[in-house]
Amino acid sequence: MKVLIIEDEKLIADIIKKGLEYHRFSVDVAYNGKTGYNLTQQYEYDVIILDLMLPDIPGEEVCKKIRQDGNNAYILMLTAKKQDEDIVNGLNYGADDYLTKPFDFSVLLARIRALLRRNSKVKENILQAGNIKLFIDQEKVMVDSKEIELTKKEYMVLEYLLRNKGQLLSRNQILEHAWDRNADIFSNIVDTHIKNLRKKLGKSGDIIETVYGSGYRIKENK
């Protein structure tokens, strides 16, 4: 899943990016509000981590503008402002969650995962299709109770497909949600990863359906 960090303290932004990438998210970083806002217009993010004290535009404004665009990405405000009224204001501007600095990274991770669960029918930390199980909190994939070793990118592609089970996903969509903005959009890297994924999943790999000329889809459970 794809996360955007809008944070002016470079060291904070970079370590969050590093941590989230380790935990299999694709991450973009913006060091000021304007760049961050422009990125939300260009790409589709699942979660936006937003600092409030930005040098150019206040975070609250950025949040308001994102919501005015009709963008429904989950916004998590991450800020040093700890007063109750700040939290109330932040949430009223359209944020989905609020976390104050300094924070515990595992809490941030859990909150991001909780946000991603919000609109899905599955409230557990397990994504399932056929006999494939993806354990979100443990970051592992099991087929018939046997763990499968996947690369980070393969895992991220599979996670995105499983989260949108039954929906047709274009190559572009997969690229947007599993890669950061430095990905080469003209390459066939999505196809390559799907091919590898199918190989590793073995028989169960059939669950990933190719829709000609459009993209891929995970078959719904019968």
Partner: protein, 262 residues
């Protein structure tokens, strides 16, 4: 024995006493009027002119009134009226009515005017007291807003000015503390997040640990610099906190890792 009275009652009482004293003085005045009138030449003259009294009787009255001497008593003014009073009533009556009316009217006007003015001033003072009582550090934005040029209005305007200065200074201090807190928070967040990420990384190498330790060391140096600066500021003259904040903002800025352009 002391009787406690509210300020308002005291003032009312004072005015009542003033009115009573004025009335007593006025009655003394009337008394003297009677006395002088009875002794006056004109009165005798009138008697001679207009009455059927005999000359000898008039002479007798004159003599009698003259002989009735005041030196018999220590305070002549309080001496009783002459024993023989012959009033020509319409004249005296008119004099008395005119005098009484005028004097009482003046007394009442003066007293009630003073009373009302005092009452108004008092009400203003009460208003100020009541409003000032409400102002505390959380309601520093409140003002009295009394317009005018009299002493009370000036006093309340001075008060408002003082509150302006106080509020500004409070805001500055609050701003300064927020700023300092933010500056302390940033290195703490960097340290905390780095430790967390490293701890969650199952494949962390020795190099990862070394890098993190170095980074934490740097951030701790920054923290101690900030702490030194805060100490310096509290030691230096705090009278001019505005300057301190400006200096401080500049100092803080050198430590930041802020990136202006992405």
């Amino acid at each position: 024995m002391k009787i406690k009275l509210s300020f308002n009652k005291k003032i009312t009482l004072t005015f009542v006493i003033i009115i009573i004293i004025s009335l007593i003085l006025y009655s003394l005045l009337l008394l003297m009027l009677f006395k002088t009138n009875l002794r006056s030449e004109r009165f005798i003259h009138d008697l001679r002119k207009n009455t059927g009294l005999k000359e000898t009787t008039i002479k007798n009255i004159e003599e009698f009134n003259k002989n009735w001497q005041r030196e018999k008593l220590p305070f002549p003014i309080f001496s009783p009226l002459p024993p023989l009073i012959i009033l020509r009533s319409p004249v005296m009556f008119r004099i008395v009515v005119a005098l009484s009316g005028g004097v009482i009217f003046i007394i009442l006007i003066a007293a009630s005017g003073g009373f009302l003015f005092l009452k108004r001033t008092l009400n203003q003072i009460n208003y100020i007291t009541k409003n000032v009582e409400e102002i505390d550090e959380k309601k520093l934005h409140l003002r009295l807003n009394i317009k005018g040029k009299d002493a009370i209005a000036k006093m309340s305007q001075t008060f408002d000015n003082m509150l302006d200065k106080l509020e500004e200074s409070f805001d500055n201090q609050k701003h300064f503390i927020e700023n300092a807190s933010h500056e302390l928070n940033t290195p703490l967040t960097i340290i905390k997040t780095n430790i967390d990420v490293l701890r969650l990384n199952k494949n962390a190498t020795k190099e990862d640990y070394e890098k993190t330790i170095e980074l934490i060391d740097n951030e701790i140096k920054k923290l101690s610099q900030i702490s030194d600066k805060l100490l310096n500021i509290s030691n230096s003259n705090t009278a001019n906190i505005n300057n301190n904040i400006n200096i401080n903002n500049n100092l803080f800025d050198h430590n930041n890792n802020k990136v202006d352009n992405n």
